[in-house]
């Protein structure tokens, strides 16, 4: 409204000023002739009403701007009424009422001074009256109900009709009450004064301020009513200025005084209830705030603290506790409850009847207990009577539910003598509902984040693992080698490698690290390091594995171990030596017969070097062309199909026995194909590694190749 163009305001002000000047000129002109000269009484009334009409939108603006803030509007009214009161009071003292004479019912000014002053007083008071009128209307209409609106509108019509009926009439000083209209108007004002829609929303402090304003308004308007109702100079001035406006002014002053007297009483009356009102407002806004922030709090404890603080404040309670279901304990069946109290709360809640209240609240919705007195409380609680009778505090217990599932309990306690009312229960229940939802949300979100973190870790571990495996295998004449590894989605840690060692031999390792994800990948890197370092110089699998055990015992945690098969092929004496450290058997295929070789040996990292070394058995076999050795990890034999059935060592034996394959790669492919057929869904939970070694010769330049090739 403030952005109304300034030129319209200028036009309105200018127009009104112009009309007032016209009135002044007419008044001056008719001073020495009859007031009814040339119907000037009509002209003056119409002009002054017209001037006020032009000022109407400007005043309306002032009221509209302040309507949302009743206190500000009241203050403006107080200031306006105060100024007018002072002006009128000063005039009463300065000028005698004899400045106007009554001649056959009409007022005649004694001097030009009186003419001039009457215009000023009349203008100021009628503008003030219009302002009071608009303010009252604004206050009543603002948030009022339909009935209030109708009454207010009736009042407006009455006042306007009364004023207009006096246009051109003789001034009616001292005879305002003769108007039946005015009596009805007063009755309506009294009726309206019971309605104080603007008052309800004020806080206690604001109501106290309003009381002060109302008192001042009653004083100023009452004073004005007294001064303007008698035979005083200002009273005669406004009557002379304009009969309808003078009446209007006087009536508004009286009505305003009546209304604000009643409002003063009403404010006093509402004062004691404002605490309750304020708490309700605070409760609602707390609930809304909680709704907003709860989605941003991820941490369970932080969320719990927020709920506790809000619940205590909203329920007007002294203490608050939140219970969340704890971990399920095997055998006991029922979940325990983890109880949280507000940080810094003095009473940890020990000795309070949580179990009894919970049992009762879970069976219904909410439970209240008023200290020591069970009357009117849920009947089920009576069975706890002996314990509860000793409790002096008042309690409120509300379950936290999501989709009819209980996700926790909320307890509030008040000191003895206070209790929880219906409204407290309703608000706390509403909070419990949002809290349950928020806790559920944060749980789901945490789960999701954890899942994403694990997925990222797995991806990282998988790529690490892939890079740790050899890109290509070294070649040795007379030896046909093939190795492959299928990484798992969950558990990983298979490792294989083949190097030429420092003694001109071929060193082969197949291992399986326990653990999963990043941990497994880390241990795999350790194993690779050990193999690259120790494997280079070890003369025998025993030497290598004993060294590896020593190295790994230092770096593995107490839960972890590594199983491994290590083999060394020695081309100079055409033998292969191998040893098994807790690993799967080694399959040897010879003339379509399959033999599982299981030399004794413990996993790496399980026992001290002595125990490990004593248990380790090393086997040396001659390189027999045509012999195929298959090394694998337990991911292969422990592969499960959805029904739970394992691939198993027997199936492996059968597969290898079935056909004699032409190459190491063909053998490995057959194994892989069989595995895929067994469990076609993929998503293996453990790595599967197969390394096939087929002797054609034994590492020397070999005529055997040609021999076999034929």
């Amino acid at each position: 409204m403030q952005d109304r163009p300034s030129w319209t305001r200028a036009i309105a002000l200018g127009g009104a000023g112009f009309l007032f000047v016209l009135v002044l000129l007419i008044d001056v002109a008719r001073k020495n002739v009859a007031p009814t000269f040339l119907q000037s009484n009509f002209v003056v009334d119409v002009l002054s009403i017209g001037a006020l009409f032009l000022l109407f939108p400007l005043l309306q603006n002032v009221v509209t701007e302040r309507r949302e803030d009743p206190l500000r509007l009241l203050l403006t009214l107080v200031i306006a009424a105060g100024i007018v009161f002072v002006i009128v009071l000063v005039c009463v003292f300065l000028f005698p009422s004899e400045q106007f004479q009554t001649v056959s019912g009409w007022l005649v000014p004694h001097s030009y001074n009186a003419v001039f002053l009457s215009l000023i007083i009349g203008t100021v008071t009628s503008v003030a009256a219009l302002f009071v009128f608009l303010s009252l209307y604004g206050l009543l209409i603002g948030t009022g109900k339909r009935g209030t609106r109708i009454l207010a509108n009736v009042l407006v019509v009455l006042l306007i009709v009364d004023a207009l009926s006096r246009v051109g009439g003789a001034p009616a000083t001292g005879s305002f009450f003769q108007s039946a209209f005015f009596i009805v108007a007063i009755v309506i004002t009294v009726l309206l004064s019971f309605r104080l829609p603007w008052l309800i929303e004020l806080r206690r402090k604001e109501k106290l301020v309003a009381l002060g304003y109302e008192l001042m308004l009653v004083a100023f308007l009452g004073g004005l009513a007294g001064l303007l109702g008698g035979e005083t100079f200002p009273a005669r001035s406004i009557a002379y200025f304009s009969a309808p406006l003078g009446t209007f002014t006087y009536q508004l002053v009286v009505l305003g005084c009546v209304y604000f007297s009643a409002a003063f009483a009403g404010t006093l009356f509402h004062l004691p209830t404002s605490d309750i009102y304020e708490r309700r407002v605070a409760q609602i806004s707390s609930l809304r705030d909680f709704g907003n922030i709860s989605t941003q709090i991820l941490d369970k404890d932080q969320l719990a603290q927020t709920v506790l603080k809000l619940a205590r404040e909203m329920g007007g309670a002294r203490g608050a506790w939140l219970e969340l279901p704890g971990a399920v304990v095997e055998g006991h069946g029922q979940a325990g409850w983890e109880r949280l109290s507000e940080n810094g709360a003095l009473d940890a809640g020990s000795g309070l009847p949580f179990d009894e209240l919970r049992a009762e609240a879970l069976a219904s919705s909410s439970v209240t207990l008023r200290g020591g007195n069970l009357r009117g409380e849920p009947k089920g609680l009576r069975r706890f009577m002996p314990k509860l009778a000793a409790v002096q505090n008042s309690f409120l217990a509300v379950p936290l539910r999501v989709h009819n599932e209980t996700r926790g309990m909320l307890y509030l306690a008040k000191p003895a003598g206070e209790s929880f009312d219906r409204h407290d229960i309703a608000t706390v229940t509403a909070l419990a509902d949002s809290a349950a939802m928020a806790l559920e949300n944060s749980r789901l979100l945490r789960e999701m984040i954890e899942k994403e973190r694990l997925e990222r870790e797995l991806l990282l571990a998988q790529s690490m693992q892939t890079r740790l495996l050899p890109r290509e295998l070294p070649r040795l004449p007379g030896i046909d080698l093939f190795a492959t590894s299928i990484p798992a989605t969950e558990v990983g840690g298979d490792y294989y490698d083949i190097v030429h060692n420092a003694h001109g031999n071929l060193s082969i390792v197949v291992g399986d690290v326990s653990g999963k994800g990043i941990t497994a990948a880390f241990y795999m890197a350790v194993v690779k390091g050990v193999f690259q370092a120790v494997g280079q110089n070890a003369r025998s699998p025993r030497e290598f594995l004993v060294n590896a055990n020593e190295a790994l015992r230092g770096s593995l945690d107490s839960h972890s171990f590594v199983t491994m098969v290590h083999a060394i092929i020695n081309p100079s004496d055409r033998t292969m030596s191998f040893a098994r450290a807790g690993h799967c058997p080694i399959a040897r295929v010879r003339d379509s017969r399959v033999e599982l070789l299981v030399p004794r040996g413990m996993g790496l990292g399980l026992a001290s070097d002595d125990v490990f070394s004593d248990s380790l058995e090393e086997v040396t076999v001659p390189c027999v062309p045509g012999d195929t050795y298959v090394f694998f990890t337990d991911g292969v034999t422990e592969l499960r199909r959805p029904g739970g059935e394992e691939f198993g060592i027997r199936r492996m034996e059968e597969l290898l026995r079935g056909t004699s394959y032409s190459s190491a790669e063909a053998t490995a492919s057959a194994v892989l194909q069989s595995l895929r057929q067994f469990a076609p869904e993929g998503g293996y939970i453990d790595d599967m590694t197969v390394l096939v070694l087929r002797f054609v010769g034994c590492g020397e330049v070999s005529t055997a190749i040609e021999k076999i090739g034929d």
Partner: protein, 124 residues
Amino acid sequence: MDEFGIKVSQQGDVSVLRVKGYLDAHTAPELEKRMQELISQDRVRLVMELAELEYISSAGLGVFMAYVDEVRGRGGDIKFSSLTPRVYTVFDLLGFPILYEFFPETGEAVKRFPHADSADRGRA
């Protein structure tokens, strides 16, 4: 497949843990928790009755390894009983029988703990 589960019973001063189902990376923490509870109550004479154990992964095996030193240090032991041949193979391949005692029946395993428990307690 059956649900994983652990039932603890007392036979004298020996705690018998009957583990059934799949003992893998998902269920191992639960076994670990129960063992910790027992050890914290100074119950260090433990028999793992694994008749109903269908499968054990490296994570499951790791639990036994993790506590054996502490249990033995406090005068107790972890013994195994009633394993199915298939599950025994897993323990066997890894070399567990070198470090732990295995028995066909729980009663036998319980009996193998020395009776003079007061002496043992004194040592702990």
